[in-house]
């Protein structure tokens, strides 16, 4: 037990890009002892993933790393691949964020898990197969005998991540690097994967480096934490100490970045803005060739009814594929649906687009992806004023500009940025632009479809605050769709829980969070909040 397992000193990672050299990591020190779990926390762009890729010699071609990296006493930075390959996959292993794409789609999972065993241990096909079956059973894949022949696309996201973990364990490594392994998964699956990792670590005694943006996960799993900001480690120490007494401002800010507070309830006699009854959405897709086509129906939304009053926020919660976004679009008549939707008492179903258009001004939408929802070849000014062109065509150019300035100011953006293009802004700024585009029309109802999910926690908090402020000032009604329970808790008056297109549970926010009635809701809430309290 002499010395640490991994000792990184003054690691620098640079990338050559068309816009010059980008310093992703600016000289960090990091050390991992045998058997311990180390968390590396930071927001996007902090360089946390690049450290691990640099250590393992996996940087992109335009990346350069310098400094020193000792693995079990041996210098490994800059080693040729042939030498590195005696360590990679043998004494160290990695799992990644993207369970969908991290496995080769062309080979069965059995083949892929067996590869490191065969290459590093020289095992025969039969030996490797036996080992793979054992590993798949250990990571909780049901029916390993059968699943060993499946291809990655035949498995769910959680199962694929389990397969990745099986592959990582294949040669019983001393070090496991986990790069955001649960970020792309639903909360309930995330909890299972974390539990599995903890259990396997107890069994095999390997060290784990856990890279994540999620403080709750770090607090739950790691012994020590490194906090990174813009390529530098700003604070490090035992998890308990850092969470109890953060010293650096950035750490404090991160810790405070949990959405908090509650929404003031609307006036009890507020009028109803949107009302929906028995909404059903069925997607049918035709497959096959001419004359041999088959129609496949997917029942995306099943018999949902809801009522939204002025100034109220209705949260819609569910995991991916639960139909929550589809429901939102059906309400806005952006998708064909069955059932009945009324806006201020007026039935929307079957209205031709021409009659819907005046109503569209009052019903706006903000999307999840701040990168995809802004037209890349329009300036911010053009994006924000586009709705005015449609709904207030008589407005003069200067009046339009003035309205855009007002809207931008309201979302705390400098109006002088109007001439810039979306790609010049950060994710949070873009989401503000999208909100400005919605409020410039002075709507009464906004559909918020995961508006904070693609953002860093610290930015999320700002957007949540902004949305609550705007709601207060303009008396807006929100339908807030999210998979993130803590954000919903801070935003919504009432919550609907959806699963597989159907409504599972509905009620006032605090009632649902304090006393969930169904098992599914209980599991969801447990997965989301237990992490925070478990540490």
């Amino acid at each position: 037990m002499s010395g640490p397992l991994l000792q990184v000193s003054n690691l620098v990672v640079d990338f050559d890009t068309q816009d010059g050299v980008v310093n992703a990591v600016r000289g960090i020190d990091l050390c991992v002892a045998k058997g311990e779990t180390v968390g590396v926390v930071g927001e996007s762009g902090s360089g946390k993933s690049q450290i691990m890729l640099a250590i393992m010699g996996l940087l992109d071609r335009n990346g350069r790393a310098s400094g020193a990296v000792r693995f079990d006493g041996q210098e490994i930075l800059g080693l040729p691949n042939r030498r590195l390959n005696t360590i990679r996959g043998n004494r160290s292993a990695m799992i990644f964020q993207e369970p969908m794409t991290s496995l080769d789609p062309c080979y069965t999972i059995g083949d892929q898990v067996a590869e490191p065993i065969r290459f590093h241990r020289g095992a025969s096909a039969a030996q490797a197969r036996a080992r793979v079956l054992d590993l798949l059973a250990q990571v909780g894949i049901p029916d390993p005998e059968e699943k060993i022949e499946s291809y990655p696309h035949e498995l769910s996201g959680g199962q694929r991540q389990r397969v990745m973990i099986a592959m990582a364990l294949a040669n019983e490594p001393d070090l496991l690097i986990a790069d955001e392994p649960t970020t792309a998964l639903d909360v309930t699956i995330q909890a299972q994967i974390l539990e599995l990792l903890a259990e396997l670590q107890a069994r095999y005694g390997m060290a784990i480096v856990f890279i994540t943006h999620d403080l709750a996960v770090v607090r739950h799993i790691s012994d020590r934490v490194y906090v990174m900001e813009a390529g530098v480690v700003v604070e490090e120490g035992a998890t308990k100490t850092i969470f109890a007494n953060p010293t650096h401002d950035y750490t404090k800010m991160l810790l405070a970045a949990e959405p908090s507070g509650v929404k003031h309830p609307p006036e009890p006699d507020a009028q109803t803005v949107i009302e929906a009854a028995h909404v059903d959405v069925i997607f049918s897709s035709r497959t096959g060739l001419l004359g041999f086509s088959k129609t496949r129906n997917v029942h995306a939304v099943k018999d949902i009814s809801l009522r939204l009053r002025q100034g109220q926020t209705l949260g819609v919660v569910g995991e991916s594929g639960s139909g929550k976004s589809t429901l939102g679009r059906a309400l806005l008549q952006l998708l064909p649906s069955a059932g009945e939707v009324r806006y201020e008492g007026r039935a929307l179903h079957g209205l031709p687009e021409r009659d819907l258009r005046p109503l569209r001004r009052e019903m706006q939408i903000v999307f999840q992806d701040p990168f995809g929802s802004l037209s890349p070849r329009m300036t911010v000014g053009e994006i924000v004023t586009e709705g005015l062109l449609v709904h207030e065509p008589r407005l003069s150019r200067s009046d339009r500009e003035r309205r855009a300035d007002e809207a931008l100011l309201e979302v705390a953006l400098d109006p002088s940025m109007k001439r810039r293009y979306p790609h010049e802004f950060s994710g949070g700024q873009r989401q503000r632009i999208a909100i400005a585009r919605a409020i410039v029309l002075k709507p009464r109802f906004i559909l918020l479809d995961e508006p904070t999910s693609a953002l860093d926690r610290s930015v999320q908090v700002q957007i949540v605050d902004l949305l609550r402020d705007l709601q207060q000032t303009h008396g807006l009604s929100y339908l807030f769709i999210s998979h993130d329970l803590s954000v919903v808790r801070a935003m919504a008056d009432e919550v609907m829980v959806m699963k597989d297109g159907a409504l599972i549970e509905q009620g006032p926010t605090e009632a649902i969070f304090q006393a969930p009635k169904t098992d599914y809701t209980k599991a969801l809430i447990a997965a989301a909040f237990d992490l925070k309290t478990a540490a």
Binding site: R82, N85, G89, S102, P105, C106, Y151
Partner: protein, 307 residues
């Protein structure tokens, strides 16, 4: 699998039918006829010829007769090569074209894929620039320039190969035509392979393979090349069909008796049946190779399934 092949062949029939119909009528709309020679024939002779070949009947009737004969496997007599039937001409020419095209295809695939892989692995290094330069040359220089230039150097200047002719399929006679046919394909394949290889090498599962210490050869061949071949395969469908059914330019320049030439000769001489025959051969090859491509696709990528 078999039922899929059957369904595909079955669903190709309407396409073939449309191709035949369009070609038939388009051909007939063009002015002139098969017997409008430079020296006009006597009216009597002309009348006889027209009657023998059913050309005096209304167009739709000729069409029906053609379809009826075609259904029985009869492609009709050639109007220009008057001692031969179209089937005989194709039977003579097609094996030669297929032979040359097949050799060119093999050559192009091996060299093209090899160069593409080298370019991708050595991206932005001298070897890569060499591959890019070669590919650009191959794509931009048309075959009717390549063929005479190759002849100039290898046949005229150094006199190591015959300048043309088929020579009953002697190997030396095949070298220049095969090179000419293969060069542009080498270029396109190398470019396609390089592009898709670079993309494949950046994919997440390659990062996984490297993170698990698999040897470079395994990463490149087993994991990257397999998915990188998909665009090459889909390009090769129509390209292979075109190669195997002969090239007008190459066959004209090197004086090779393949079926590529019949097509242009037929069109110029209004040899209706010969043109129809070659069109059908080409269309059948296109359909066939599209089917092969789809089957190869499902073989290479398990996500694609045809059931």
């Amino acid at each position: 699998m078999y039922s899929y092949v059957f369904r595909r062949v079955f669903s190709a029939l309407p396409t073939l039918f449309v191709v035949i119909t369009i070609s038939f009528f388009l051909m007939r709309v063009a002015p002139g006829g098969p017997f409008n020679l430079e020296r006009p024939l006597e009216a009597k002779v002309m009348e006889n010829l027209m009657r023998i070949y059913n050309l005096d009947k209304p167009l739709w009737e000729q069409y029906a007769i053609y379809l009826y004969n075609l259904f029985q496997g009869d492609l009709g007599p050639s109007y220009f090569f008057r001692d031969f039937s179209v089937a005989e001409l194709i039977a003579q020419g097609l094996p030669i074209s297929v032979q040359l095209g097949g050799l060119a295809l093999l050559l192009a695939l091996t060299i093209g894929c090899g160069l593409g892989v080298i370019g991708a692995i050595k991206q932005n290094q001298p070897a890569d620039f060499g591959v890019i330069a070669l590919a650009t040359i191959g794509i931009t220089i048309p075959n009717f320039v390549v063929a005479p230039v190759l002849t100039l150097f290898l046949a005229v200047h150094f006199d190591i190969l015959p300048a043309g002719g088929w020579g009953d399929g002697a190997l030396a006679n095949k070298v220049l035509p095969v090179l000419t046919l293969a060069l542009p394909q080498v270029a396109v394949i190398a470019r396609l392979t390089r592009g898709s290889m670079i993309e494949a090498l950046h994919s997440h599962h390659i990062r996984t393979a490297r993170a698990y210490g698999l040897p470079g050869r395994v990463v490149v061949v087993r994991h990257a090349l397999r998915s990188a071949l998909l665009p090459v395969v889909s390009y090769m469908g129509p390209a292979a069909a075109a190669l195997l059914t002969g090239s007008v330019v190459v066959e004209t320049i090197f004086g090779i008796p393949g079926i590529g030439r019949y097509f242009v000769q037929g069109a110029l001489n209004r040899d209706y049946t010969l043109v129809m025959g070659t069109v059908i051969v080409i269309a059948v090859f296109v359909v066939l190779f599209n089917l092969i491509v789809d089957l190869l696709y499902s073989l290479l990528d398990p996500r694609v399934r045809y059931d």
